[in-house]
Every structure is written in C-alpha cells, then in structure tokens.
C-alpha cells in the first residue's frame, strides 16, 4: 500500500499548496477527523464527509460521499463516482477556489521497476541484492517523483532530506549549497520525524565537508573520536558531541560522451559542484554499516534534484526579467506618440524601433499656446524598466512646457532633481526645439548628438560644441540657441542607437554614414526619407543584433498657408487663432 505513488494535491486558492500521498485505501477526505478522514481539512466549504478515493480493478476511483453542491472533475459534474487519472482537477461544489489535483504515475509498477533498474545500474549493484535495499531505493524514487509536482523548492529539498534520514537513520540531514564566494552554506536542515531545523543554527563539520570535496566522493567518519587527529580537533564536531558524520558531495551529472571517453577522472574534473548532503548522528558508528551503493544512489538522486532546482530557478529569473521587459515595452509604447500630425508650418514624422532589452529612447511633439510647436528627442542611459520609468517622469516634467515654462530653467531644474536623487542612478541626453510659424528655431541641448540640418541639399550639424546631459553633473547649466529656418529646411533628430548601430564586425554606423544617407534623400517626402534611412541602417547592420533603440524624428519647416506668402506677424496670429 505504501507504494501507490498517488498523491492528492490541495490547491485551494486561499491556502498553502499541500501534496499528500494516498497512503491507505479507501482514502477519505472531509472536514474534521471525526469521520475517520485521512485528509482532514478545516474549511467550511468542505463537507464533513466529502469524498473518498477507492481501489477498483480499473485503477483509483473517486466517490462522492456527500459533498454539498456536488463534485466536478475537470469541470464536469460527477454522478456518484469516476475513475481518476493523473492531473485530474477535482472541484468542490462548483467553487473554483476549492480544488484538488490528483497525481499519479500512469503505470506505477512498471515505472518503479524501471527506476530501480536505472538506480542499480547507476550504483553498480549486482542483481539479487537484498529485498531490504530495494525498499530503501524505492523510497528514493518517491523523492524523485516529487520533483514532478508543483511543490516549492524548499519542500522538495526537505522531503529529499527526510528520505535520506530514513534511509541512513541519521539524526540530522542538511543540504548545503555554495554561496557567491563558493563556501558551502546550509540551505535546508531536517531532523528525525520530519522536523524542520533552522539552517543558521546548524554547525556542520567543515573538516569533514572539506575532505569530501577534496576527495570528490562521499566521506563517512564512522566514529569521529577515533578518526584522525585532524578531525578530532575540529571545533564544531567536538562542540556538538557528534560521533558520526557522512558527507556526500553532489556534482552535476555529465552526459558528455566525449568527456567520458577521456576517462572517468577527467570527466569528473569537468563536473560542477552543486552542493552537498550532510548527515550526522550522535550514535557512534551510525553509518558504518551503510552501503556504499546506497550513498552513491542518494548522491545521484540529490544531484539531479539540485540540478533541476537550479534550472527552475534560472527559468524563474528569466521569466521575471521577461515580465519586467514587457512592462517597460508597454510603458515605452504608450509614451511614443502614435501617428504624428502635421502642423501648419511643420511636417513631422518619427520612428522608434526598440531593441530587445528595451532602451530609453523617447520623442514627442506638441503645440504651445503661443503658436510655436515643440519637439524633442531624448535618450535615457540604460535599458529596461528603470529607463522606462525615468522616461515617464521626463514626459511628465516636460509637459509643463505646454504652459509656456522656460525650457532652460526646466532643464536646470530636472538636472538638479536627478543629481540630488542619487538613487535614480540614471541620466538622459535630450534635444528640445521650438519652431515658430516664421521659422525661428529655438533649441536647448543636453548632451544629445546634434540634429542634422538639410538646406538646399547640403547637410550640416546644428552645433559642434558639447553640452551636459541631464542628471549627470550637478553644476551643469544649459542655454538656448536660435537659428532662422528657411522653407523646406529639414531637421533630422536621432539617438546614438542610429550612429552606434554595429555591423557584424562591430564597425559603427557613425554620423558620416547618416549624413550621406540623409543627403541622398534631398527633395523626398519625410516618409520616404525616414524609410530610406532606416533601410540604410538595416543594410549596414545586416544580421547583427540590434543592441539599442533606433529612433529618428524628421521635422520639415514650411511656410504656413503653403502657396500664400504671409508675414511672420500674420502667421503668428493665425496660429494663435487655431
């Protein structure tokens, strides 16, 4: 009966997940234990006599024993009873929050036999060993089958250690993992009768641990008082009056055939130390009769559990990062203006192609009450969620310009704000421009590469001098510059993702190539210009990975009222009346 390999998982939405082995048949589930329930739940939604799991020739059968509201298996109401199969979801009274999951190996006997054969071949045991040992090994298999359940990692480790204790009759068992510095630290500790021990309070013998790591194999100190003097004087062992300790170092199992071909010793050297299982006992010679093969089997199992746990952890970390990136992507997409409109005196188009990791590029265009049109491009240093959040902050701060705030003062304020808050730990480069209907461009720059100006087919930079980014140096100051635009003058704003785009040989696109590509599109519409430049960058980088956002903003000045020539003053009043 103990080898049923069937479990019932309590998966209520409002209580911790539990996996309970179905140890007897029929297995009764209900509220309270008066009715002989094997799984007694203290929950009013569960009837006192809820259900039972019984053995029938076809397998295990779920019987409704009087659950209020009935029982649904995989969302369909059962009438009386149903045969269970692995993964079935049992729902009480139609309450989605009140669920059990049935877990079982489909062919428990075959699977166990296969597993034992594998374990025996792994540990090199001869067929025909004692029945006793087989029982011990099947205990190990139970630990392994837990791997496939949804249990949290720590409880998988705890179960593994509990099995190790029952297998070796140790007093305590610990799982140690190397920390960042490579020192083995106790991660989970268990005592007899499945008692959880405080990992911090454990004091495993470093000497015995060191021996096991050095020898790369299990070390048993049958009686520490009789062992070599080196171990006798080991502080922790004497302190705790421990007589026996066994340490099993755990290595990542190598499946590399070429490594095996070069000899076992070599393959071992390549393997990675995952951690160690540490067992100790107050009894002298507690482990002396322990079969070497049992220890090896235990090591193989524990290593596989630990290696799987590592993989799971990495997968979770990857998922967390992916989630963070998707939030960043959403923020960024929400900020970049969709479908830029043209203004009476300006044609505008923009493009923003985020890289995988989501950079901090951002552009915006908005009208001012005095008839001028503001446009800006910004690049926040760094990537991911942090950059995206700073972008939202910048957008909020820049929106005050809509009410006619002085951009120079705003830049200085933002700079101090970011420098004072060192935790923000990020800065931005920015170019901010204002075009009035008569073509006067006023701009403020903050460490951003100069936009390119195309005038009658000639491309030049607006400025050569540097300027301080925002949020890097607290004493930074900013200034406004002015330039008169002529009709059809076109400005190309970009971020360093364009000029620092790399080909496969890590050559940069550079501003010179951008100037050439820009000049080739003289007289083209802004959309053709934008597509042409993006195409040139794409051809340059070919299949190289895009490592930063690629952002372009093209702004073309045109006389308001197209064919009609109006004076500056008239056009201002016209714009204001709009």
């Amino acid at each position: 009966m103990a080898d049923l390999h069937a479990y019932i998982e309590v998966a209520f939405s409002d209580r911790p997940r539990q996996v309970i082995p179905i140890s007897v048949l029929p297995f009764l589930i209900g509220r309270g234990s008066e009715n002989g329930n094997h799984l007694a739940l203290d929950d009013l939604r569960v009837s006192r006599r809820c259900m039972a799991i019984c053995a029938v020739p076809e397998g295990l059968r779920l019987e409704d024993r009087g659950q209020a509201g009935g029982i649904l298996v995989n969302r369909s109401q059962i009438t009386g009873a149903t045969i269970l199969s692995d993964g079935d979801r049992i729902c009480l009274g139609g309450d989605e929050g009140c669920q059990f999951v049935f877990r079982s190996a489909s062919h428990p006997m075959r699977r166990r036999d296969d597993g034992i054969a594998v374990l025996k071949s792994m540990s090199g045991a001869r067929p025909g060993d004692s029945h006793h040992e087989l029982n011990r090994l099947s205990v190990l298999l139970e630990a392994t089958s837990l791997l496939h359940s949804q249990l949290p990692l720590d409880s998988i480790f705890a179960t593994m250690l509990d099995h190790a204790i029952s297998l070796t009759r140790a007093d305590r068992a610990m799982l140690l993992e190397p920390d960042g510095a490579g020192t083995l630290q106790v991660k989970v500790a268990r005592g007899r009768e499945q008692k959880s021990l405080e990992p911090e309070a454990m004091n495993p013998s470093r000497t015995v641990l060191g021996q096991a790591i050095e020898q790369r194999s299990a070390v048993i100190n049958e009686d520490i008082l009789l062992a070599d003097s080196n171990v006798q004087t080991a502080h922790s062992v004497v302190l705790q009056f421990l007589r026996s300790a066994a340490v099993i170092p755990l290595y990542n199992v190598m499946h590399d055939e070429s490594a095996e071909g070069r000899g076992a010793g070599h393959a071992q050297e390549k393997s990675e130390l995952l951690g160690a299982v540490y067992l100790d006992s107050k009894r002298a010679s507690a482990f002396s009769t322990l079969d070497r093969q049992i220890l090896d089997a235990l090591a193989a199992q524990a290593a596989s559990i630990l290696a799987n746990a590592r993989l799971m952890q990495r997968e979770r970390e990857r998922q967390r990062l992916e989630q963070e990136l998707s939030i960043a992507r959403q923020i960024q997409q929400a900020l970049v203006p969709q479908g830029l409109q043209d203004y009476p005196h300006l044609a505008i188009t923009g493009s923003h192609r985020p890289c995988n990791e989501v950079g901090g590029d951002y552009f915006d265009v908005f009208p001012l009450p005095d008839g001028r049109t503001a446009f800006l491009i910004a690049d926040i240093a760094g990537k991911g969620l942090g950059a995206a959040l700073l972008t939202t902050m910048l957008q909020g701060a820049l929106s005050v310009l809509t009410f006619g705030a002085d951009p120079v003062k705003l830049f200085e304020y933002l700079n101090r704000f970011l420098c004072d808050r060192a935790d923000v730990d990020r800065y931005a480069t920015m170019f901010f421009g204002l075009v009035s209907p008569d073509g006067m461009l006023e701009f403020v720059r903050a460490g951003h590469p100069s936009p390119l100006l195309m005038r009658r087919g000639q491309v030049s930079e607006l400025y050569q001098e540097g300027s301080f980014p925002i949020g890097l140096i607290d004493e930074a100051s900013y200034e406004a510059s002015r330039i008169q635009l002529e009709p059809e003058d076109t400005l190309l704003l970009f971020t360093d993702g364009v000029t620092e785009a790399e080909d496969k040989n890590r050559n940069l696109f550079e501003v010179e190539r951008l100037i050439d590509a820009f000049a080739q599109h003289y007289g083209c519409s802004l959309d053709v210009l934008k597509a042409g430049i993006l195409n040139t960058v794409e051809k340059f980088t070919e299949d190289a990975e895009q490592s930063d956002d690629i952002t372009l903003l093209a702004v073309r000045y045109r006389k308001p009222g197209s064919a009609t020539i109006v004076t500056g003053e008239n056009s201002v009043s016209k714009a204001q009346s709009l």
Binding site: A381, G447, G466, S467, L472, I473, D496
Partner: protein
C-alpha cells in the same frame, strides 16, 4: 571589460581600462571604480584601450570621478580613442575631467 591599477609617483593611481565600456562593461567595473573613488587621491584613467564608450559607460567614469573631486582629489582622462573622445566632448565631460594625450602633461596636472 577589465580594470587594472598601477601606483605612480606622486600618489597617483593609474587605472587601465581595457575593452568595451558599454552596459555590460560598466557593470563589470562599477564596483571597483567606486572602491577606487573612495580611496585614491589622484586618478589617471587610462582610456587608450577602451574601444567603445556608451551612455552607461560614461556614467561609470563620471560618478567615481565626481566622488574623487568632491573629496578634493584630482582626476584626469588619458588617451581616449577618437570615438571615445567624441562621446566625452558631446556630453561636455571634457569640461569637468581634463583629457590628456601626453602622459607627462596628465601627471603634471594631477600633482
């Protein structure tokens, strides 16, 4: 990205950076740069082997350099390649941290 240091006469610490100072390179040197910033009197940051300077990399130079300057120390940048010098100049960093191409001049400025 690697970082190595060398003590020069006059209590000057020469910091030799080697590699690409991009977002990953920055992460690799940030901690050590900040440790140096907490102890050195004068830093000569040798950029001759830095092939690329990105925006996060710029931060990795400026933040520790500012820390040294706030303690009354001195910092100089030495021998950046043209791409790196261009990034430094575009962000006005050459106004805060002087750039030298002659070692003697850099050392003299740090005395």
């Amino acid at each position: 990205m690697t970082l190595s240091t060398e003590s020069l006469d006059g209590d000057i610490t020469r910091v030799l950076l080697d590699g690409r100072l991009d977002i990953e390179g920055a992460a690799q040197i940030d901690l050590r740069m900040n440790v140096l910033a907490g102890s050195a009197r004068a830093l000569l940051i040798d950029l001759s082997r830095v092939s690329f300077l990105g925006s996060m990399g710029l931060r990795s130079l400026i933040v520790p350099a500012q820390a040294v300057r706030r303690r009354g120390g001195k910092v100089a940048l030495f021998s950046p390649v043209p791409m790196v010098e261009q990034v430094l100049k575009a962000s006005n960093m050459d106004q805060v941290l002087p750039i030298f191409h002659e070692l003697d001049a850099a050392i003299a400025a740090l005395q």
